[in-house]
Amino acid sequence: MILAEKDRKSEEDALEKMAKMRHAIETIDLNIYYGDHHVIKGVNLAIPEKVVFAIMGPSGCGKSTMLRAFNRLLELNESTRVEGDVKVFGKSIFKMNPIEVRRTVGMVFQHPNPFPHMSIYDNVALGLKLNKLVKDRKELDRIVEWALRKAALWEEVENKLHKPASALSGGQQQRLCIARVVAMKPKVILMDEPTSNLDPISTKKIEELIYELKKELTVVIVTHSPAQAARVSDYVAFLYLGKLVEVGSTVDMFENPKEKLTEEYLTGRMG
């Protein structure tokens, strides 16, 4: 009984702390429709700065769709409709140029997708060149190396920078994608199940990277694996059938889920 009191207290503290932090991303009554299909149903979410925030839920709950609303990538699909608002550092993304949004909010995808016809170097340099973020070749060289080091890939590719990206292994390709995003120095990186196609060792490397990245930026990671959410995240949101069921600090939610649905999901009885 006393223990439960204490738990609730720490939980409230955590939520309070979350509310006070500067928000990297905030959604206000977010609804997403895919044709006639109502995918995301009135989600209000605030993601603090410089943390790893996991969005977990079973397949088909709308996690990836919601993630794509954060950098306006959903707009590539003509049949989607977004209602409500998404704010990045307090600014509505719908009042910003989508290119600016995507430069601030980078993304890593489920399938490693470096451009296979381009060299490793060109893949990392791509975002920098597109957004004209560098002045000269020297600066470009420097940032490419810096980004590859950040993605813990430099030692492995140092001698084959101008080989095609398709020559790398799946795990290396995914780290290349992280380097490609990091090079643009975004403030937020969205990761859509970044390890679901990788072997355990590559997964571990990526998870270590995520831990390093949060020192400088905010990582929002979508995962269907509660275990991964527990390993990498500081905060976690549980999404089920398009609705936000529960959100809170990872430790609290895993030790003491408030909702029955969450508990069932975490204990593997559902999902």
């Binding site: 950098n71 990538l73 590539l76 003509e78 290119i99 600016e100 995507r102 430069r103 980078g106 993304m107 995808f109 489920q110 399938h111 997708n113 470096p114 451009f115 296979p116 016809h117 791509l126 975002g127 597109l130 957004n131 095609p164 994608c177 490609r180 995003v181 643009m184």
Partner: protein, 307 residues
């Protein structure tokens, strides 16, 4: 024999069909070879290296050289590919990336209809509309001001020329090249589209990078276009002028192998060697086709997509 056995034996069922198709091709090649032998005996390889067409009642005076037609075939087909390249890529990109959704299907159907039209339809349109138009709007002004450039050095009298044939062929082969490029562009995995946009690319920048990814399909589309162009007969006959002529000028009339065969075929039986000369001319198309395909494979291999 387990279940897999049935799958394995299926190949014996397919084999005769495969042999039939390949056999037909081999047989046709053999016929062309054997029918060409008389002219090779008569004048050797001069049939391919000279430009002459001397039909005579006296077989000893007969002499044929189809160099002008080979030159014309290659010249007009290269022109066609050069014209089809920007047209088909732009069209494919427009249909997939830019066209409003309701316009997409109609546009695709329209190009499919274009591809299926009998070529005489293009020929008539070419002869009565395209040729006068090109003469008035392109050839005459270019000749008037730039005739010192060899490409424009021939005075356009009738308008029937390599240029007319090349433009007409370019229009005719665009639907084929465009269909291949369009399908390849459409089937690029969506994740690459997402990747390029997520890096802050504009629509134009995204297109530029994505189109580079389908280079092999573009090469394949252009090879097909070249093949169609070099084999086209009726439409070309109507606009090229059918003249034994080798000229660098776009505005000069010429001949192509297929238009030569079509035009001379009717009276070829009167002469001893002419039929054989026409077969030899046809044989050269086999070799041009082979050369172009080998070139294509080499290009594809350079991109690392070779078989």
């Amino acid at each position: 024999m387990g279940k897999d056995g049935y799958i394995d034996t299926f190949k014996y069922f397919l084999l005769p069909f495969c042999l039939f198709v390949f056999g037909l091709f081999a047989l046709m090649l053999a016929v062309y070879f054997s029918a060409s032998i008389p002219i090779f005996k008569h004048e050797g390889l001069k049939i391919y290296t000279t430009n002459a067409w001397i039909a005579s009642e006296n077989p000893n005076k007969e002499f044929y050289g189809v160099l002008a037609a080979i030159y014309g075939s290659v010249y007009t087909s290269v022109l066609a590919v050069l014209i089809a390249l920007p047209l088909s890529i732009s069209f494919a990109v427009f249909v997939i990336d830019y066209a409003p959704r309701r316009l997409k299907e109609p546009l695709i159907v329209a190009t499919d209809v274009m591809a299926g039209l009998p070529t005489i339809i293009y020929g008539i349109w070419g002869a009565f509309v395209l040729v006068p138009l090109l003469k008035k709007c392109v050839m005459d002004p270019l000749y008037a001001h730039f005739s010192f450039i060899p490409l424009f050095s021939f005075k356009p009298v009738t308008g029937y020329s390599y240029l007319s044939a090349g433009v007409l062929l370019g229009i005719m082969v665009t639907p084929f090249a465009s269909a291949i490029i369009r399908e390849a562009y459409r089937s690029l995995p969506f994740m690459y589209r997402e990747a390029i946009y997520s890096l802050g690319a504009t629509r134009y920048e995204a297109t530029k990078i994505l189109i580079k990814q389908i280079k092999p399909a573009i090469v394949a589309g252009l090879l097909l276009a070249f093949g169609r162009a070099i084999g086209e007969t009726v439409a070309v006959s109507l606009v090229i002028g059918n003249t034994f002529n080798i000229s660098p000028s776009l505005f000069a009339p010429g001949y192509t192998i297929s238009s030569l065969i079509a035009n001379q075929f009717g009276n070829a039986f009167i002469y001893k060697y002419m039929v054989s000369a026409l077969f030899a001319a046809g044989l050269s198309l086999f070799f041009i086709g082979l050369a172009v395909n080998i070139l294509g494979i080499l290009i594809l291999r350079r991109y690392g997509h070779g078989r």
